[in-house]
C-alpha cells in the first residue's frame, strides 16, 4: 500500500558560526510541515533522508562523527550548510567535533564534504555571504560558502538561500524545483539565489508602495506610511516576503510596521547607514527619482 520511495536523497547538514535560527525557521515550514519532511516523501517517490543533522539526531560524540564520515563517503547527497565559515587562523573559531583526539573545524568539513555532494545549499545569510558573523570588524574572518569555494577551487554546484532567517519555503521550494526541473534549469541570479524567490525587490511588491509613490512617509515607528525614512531597505532587497509573508502568512516585517532590514542581501547587516537610517544615495531600479530625493 505504501511502496518505498524509489529515489532517496541523503541530506547532510553542517553548522558553522550559526545561531540555529535557520533551523528554527525551517522547523516552522507550513506546507510541507516538518513532520512530513522528516517522515514522508517530499514528492511522490522521492524521499529526503536526514543522515546527519546536529539539532535533531539522536547520536552524539563519536557515534555522530562516524555517521558523518560514513555519509560523506557516499556520493550524491545534498549538503546544507548554515552559519558562516571562519577562515582566520585555520578556522579554529568554530570547532565542530572531534574523534580520536583530532578536532575538525567547519572549514575542514565544508572542504571535505562538499567534494562528494551533488548540490551544496548555503542556507541563511551567514552561510551565503558571511552575515552577522562577518559584520564589521569581522573578528574571526567569517565568510560565506561561496568564498570558501573560490579560495579552495571547489566546483560543486552551489545555491545560496540567504535571509536572516531564510523562509522555509525558500529552502524546500528550491529543493522541489531542483527535483522537478533539474538543477541546470533552476534560474539563479548573480548571487546564486533562485529567481523564483529572490527575483524581485521587496519594494516592487510592497503594500506600502502607494504611500511611497505619494510621498507619504512615516515619521516615527508605529505610524502609518512608507517606512523609507525610517531605514527600510526594501528598495534594495530582493525577496518575495511581501507576497509570501511569514509563519503561515500571519505577518511579515513591513506588515508589522517595522522597516525591512535587508537581510537577504550580501551587505547585511553593514549597509551604508544603521537599521533605522534612511538609505542614502542608493540607486533603486524602481522609482529611481523618488528614492533619490525623498521628501523630508
Amino acid at each position: 500500500m505504501y511502496p518505498k520511495s524509489t529515489t532517496v536523497i541523503p541530506v547532510i547538514s553542517l553548522q558553522g558560526q550559526n545561531c540555529t535560527g535557520c533551523v528554527t525557521s525551517t522547523l516552522c515550514s507550513e506546507y510541507p510541515a516538518i513532520k512530513n519532511i522528516l517522515l514522508d516523501d517530499l514528492l511522490p517517490g522521492v524521499k529526503l533522508d536526514f543522515v546527519f543533522h546536529p539539532t535533531i539526531m539522536t547520536a552524539s560524540g563519536n557515534l555522530a562523527m562516524d555517521m558523518l564520515e560514513k555519509a560523506g563517503k557516499e556520493r550524491g547527497y545534498v549538503l546544507i550548510i548554515d552559519g558562516a565559515i571562519p577562515a582566520k587562523d585555520d578556522g579554529i573559531y568554530c570547532v565542530t567535533g572531534e574523534k580520536d583526539g583530532k578536532k575538525s573545524t567547519i572549514l575542514d568539513e565544508v572542504i571535505e564534504f562538499s567534494r562528494n555532494a551533488m548540490l551544496v545549499i548555503a542556507l541563511g545569510t551567514c552561510a551565503a555571504f558571511g552575515g552577522i558573523a562577518a559584520a564589521h570588524p569581522n573578528p574571526t574572518g567569517a565568510r560565506g560558502v561561496g568564498d570558501v569555494f573560490l579560495t579552495h577551487e571547489i566546483k560543486v554546484p552551489l545555491i545560496n538561500i540567504p535571509g536572516c532567517p531564510p523562509h522555509p519555503d525558500w529552502l524546500f521550494g528550491t529543493i522541489t524545483e531542483v527535483l522537478l526541473k533539474g538543477l541546470e534549469n533552476v534560474e539563479l541570479d548573480d548571487l546564486k539565489r533562485p529567481k523564483t524567490f529572490y527575483g524581485k525587490l521587496i519594494h516592487e511588491n510592497c503594500p506600502n508602495r502607494a504611500y511611497f509613490d505619494e510621498g507619504k512617509f512615516a515619521k516615527k515607528l508605529g505610524d502609518k506610511g512608507c517606512l523609507y525614512e525610517l531605514g527600510c531597505k526594501g528598495p534594495i532587497t530582493y525577496s518575495d516576503c511581501p507576497l509570501r509573508q511569514w509563519n503561515g502568512k500571519t505577518n511579515w516585517v513591513i506588515g508589522c510596521g517595522a522597516p525591512c532590514s535587508g537581510c537577504t542581501q550580501p551587505e547585511f547587516p553593514d549597509f551604508v547607514g544603521d537599521f533605522y537610517d534612511r538609505i542614502i544615495d542608493v540607486e533603486t531600479p524602481a522609482s529611481l527619482h523618488k528614492a533619490k530625493t525623498p521628501e523630508k
Binding site: 553548522q15 535560527g21 543533522h53 579554529i92 564589521h136 515607528l221 508605529g222 509563519n247 522597516p259 547587516p269
Partner: protein
C-alpha cells in the same frame, strides 16, 4: 581512570564539548568547553544603540526574543523611556516573549531531550488510528531510521503504550511549535528574529481581530501544555525516579524579575520574582552589583573579577590554565545556577502567589518529590514545564488587556550619552544586557547569558560551574555511552552560541586548543 570526550553534543543550540574523568563508574572531574565564537559584542561597538535589538537577537536563533527584550529594556532605560512605554507595548512584549518561550520549552523537552528517554521504534507495533504515529510506523516499515538511528543502547523505561503516546507527542510538538510561533508572529513580525520590538514599544498595531486570532491560536498551545506537556514530564520523572536526585549542581539559584504586570495601565509588578536562593530554600533579594565575571580558566587576560557594566574582554592566547571561551559569572563570589527552575522557585519562595504555589506543590506531590528535588535532572524539566504553564496561564489575560486602536510605541529621542541595563527571564534563565552609549553610539556592550552562568568553567577559587558540578559525582553505567552525562547537560537546555558570543579573539590561537 578513563577520560570521556563527547564532541559534538547534539540536540542543543550550538557547539559544545564535554570532557569527563571517570573512575570506578563515577565522574570525578569535568570540563565544559564552548567551541564556536563570533565576537558579537565587538561587532556592536560604534553602532546605533537601537541596532542592538536587531543584532543581539542573532546571538541565538532558538531564543532571539529574550535578547530583543533585554536589549530593548536596556535601550529604553538609556533613552529614559522605561516608564513611558504604552501599556499595549508592554503587553505585546509579554505576549511575544511568553508565547515564544513556551514554544522553546516544548521544543526542548520533546525534540532535544525526548530521544534520551523515549524509543520511537515502538511505533512499529502501533495499531491505532493516530495519523502521526502511523506516519512514523510507515517510515520505519519502509526501512528508514534517521535521524533517530543510530543510537547508543540506553535504558528506555516507559512501557510500550506510554512510549508510543509520548512518541506521538514528539510529532505533535513539532506542529505546536509552529503554531505557537505563528501566534507570536502576529505581534512580532516574523520568527525567528522579531522586527516589531523597538525602543519605546512594539511597532505592530493592535486590532480587535488580531486579539481574537491570537487567543484562538493560544488555546491549542495551552491545551498542549496542560494536558500533554505537564503530564509527560511527570510521567518521565516518575519512570526515572532517581533522576530527581541526580545531577544536583551547585544548589544555589539566581533569577531576575520578569514579565511586567499590573492593572489600570500601571505595570510595576513582575510575574516572576527575581532573587537568589541559597541552601535549597533560603530566598533573598538580588543586588546586581554583586555580579562579577571571573576569567581564571577562560582564555582572557587575567584581571580581578569585574562587574559586567565595566567588564573588559581581552583575549589571551595560550593562557595555560584556561580551557573555555566562556567566562565565569559569579554572584558574591559564589556559583549560581539559572534557569526556569530558578524563576519558579524564587517566585514560590518570595511572592507566595497562592495559584503558583499550589501548582508547584501539586506537581511535586505527583512526582513524589519535594523542593529539594527541583535541584536535579528531572527537577529542571519540571521547573521548565511549570514556568511554561505559569506563562501560558497569563497569556490570555495579557491578550485580553490589549487596547485596540491605542498606541503601542512612544517616540525615541535619546540623550547623546547614557547607560542602560536589561534583565529578564529567558527560556534558559537569567539574561542580562549592559549598554553604555557615548556620543550617540554604543561604546560598550556586555551580555551575560543563562548558559554563561550554567556552562561556566572553574573560577579562581577552583569552584566548578553548574554543569560541571551536576556531572561530577554522577554514576555512569556505560562509559562508552554515558547517557547520564548527556541527560544532565541537556536538562539545563544549553545554548552555547549565547554563552561564547562575547569573545573578542585575536592573535594566534592554535596553541590554545592544545591545552584542552
Amino acid at each position: 581512570m578513563k577520560k570521556i570526550v563527547i564532541h559534538p553534543i547534539t540536540r542543543i543550540e550550538g557547539h559544545l564539548k564535554v570532557e569527563a574523568v571517570v573512575e570506578n563508574g563515577v565522574v570525578k572531574d569535568a570540563n565544559m568547553s564552548g567551541t564556536m565564537f563570533r565576537g558579537i559584542e565587538m561587532i556592536l561597538k560604534g553602532r546605533d544603540p537601537r541596532d542592538a535589538v536587531m543584532i543581539t537577537q542573532r546571538i541565538c536563533g532558538v531564543c532571539p526574543e529574550p535578547h530583543a527584550c533585554a536589549a530593548v529594556t536596556a535601550v529604553d532605560e538609556y533613552a529614559g523611556l522605561t516608564d513611558k512605554i504604552p501599556g499595549n507595548g508592554i503587553l505585546l512584549r509579554n505576549l511575544i516573549l511568553g508565547t515564544r518561550t513556551v514554544c522553546d520549552n516544548i521544543l526542548h523537552f520533546y525534540i532535544l531531550s525526548g530521544p534520551d528517554y523515549i524509543d520511537p521504534s515502538k511505533a512499529l507495533d502501533y495499531s491505532g488510528s493516530d495519523e502521526d504515529l502511523n506516519s512514523l510506523k510507515r517510515f520505519l516499515e519502509q526501512g528508514y531510521s534517521k535521524p533517530f538511528l543510530p543510537r547508543d543502547e540506553i535504558d528506555y523505561r516507559l512501557d510500550d503504550n506510554v512510549t508510543r503516546t509520548v512518541t506521538g507527542h514528539y510529532i505533535k510538538a513539532l506542529d505546536i511549535y509552529r503554531k505557537g510561533q505563528e501566534a507570536a508572529t502576529m505581534f512580532g513580525g516574523k520568527w525567528p528574529h522579531d522586527a516589531a520590538i523597538v525602543a519605546g514599544g512594539v511597532t505592530e498595531n493592535v486590532t480587535a481581530d488580531k486579539i481574537a486570532r491570537f487567543i484562538w491560536r493560544l488555546k491549542e498551545i495551552s491545551d498542549f501544555v496542560n494536558n500533554i506537556y505537564l503530564p509527560d514530564v511527570i510521567a518521565v520523572a516518575r519512570a526515572y525516579n532517581e533522576y530527581l536526585e541526580m545531577g544536583r549542581g551547585c544548589g544555589n539559584l539566581l533569577a531576575y524579575d520578569s514579565y511586567r504586570t499590573g492593572s489600570n495601565g500601571i505595570f510595576k509588578e513582575a510575574l516572576f520574582r527575581g532573587g537568589i536562593v541559597t541552601g535549597t530554600s533560603k530566598y533573598s533579594d538580588i543586588n546586581i552589583k554583586n555580579i562579577t565575571e571571573d576569567v581564571t580558566h577562560s582564555w582572557f587576560k587575567e584581571s580581578e573579577p569585574l562587574y559586567p557594566g565595566s567588564g573588559v574582554t581581552e583575549p589571551e592566547a595560550g593562557k595555560p590554565e584556561a580551557y573555555s571561551w566562556i567566562k565565569s559569572p559569579r554572584y558574591d563570589g559564589k556559583v549560581f545556577e539559572v534557569g526556569p527552575v530558578a524563576s519558579v522557585l524564587c517566585t514560590y519562595l518570595s511572592k507566595k502567589d497562592p495559584d503558583i504555589n499550589k501548582l508547584v506543590d501539586n506537581a511535586l506531590a505527583e512526582t513524589g518529590g519535594s523542593i529539594t528535588n527541583m535541584y536535579s535532572i528531572a527537577g529542571r524539566h519540571l521547573g521548565r514545564v511549570l514556568f511554561s504553564k505559569i506563562i501560558t496561564d497569563n497569556l490570555n489575560g495579557w491578550a485580553g488587556a490589549l487596547k485596540a486602536g491605542e498606541p503601542t510605541t512612544v517616540g525615541y529621542s535619546p540623550p547623546m550619552d547614557g547607560e542602560g541595563v536589561g534583565l529578564i527571564a529567558a527560556p534558559r534563565g537569567a539574561l542580562g544586557h549592559w549598554l553604555k552609549v557615548k556620543e550617540g553610539r554604543i561604546e560598550n556592550y556586555q551580555v551575560i547569558t543563562p548558559t554563561a552562568w550554567n556552562a561556566s568553567p572553574k573560577d579562581k577559587d577552583g569552584q566548578p560551574g553548574p554543569y560541571e558540578q551536576a556531572i561530577i559525582g554522577l554514576k555512569v553505567s556505560d562509559s562508552q555511552a554515558p547517557v547520564e552525562i548527556l541527560r544532565a547537560i541537556r536538562s539545563f537546555d544549553p545554548c552555547t552560541a549565547c554563552a561564547v558570543h562575547l569573545v573578542t579573539p585575536g592573535g594566534d590561537l592554535k596553541g590554545k586548543y592544545k591545552v584542552v
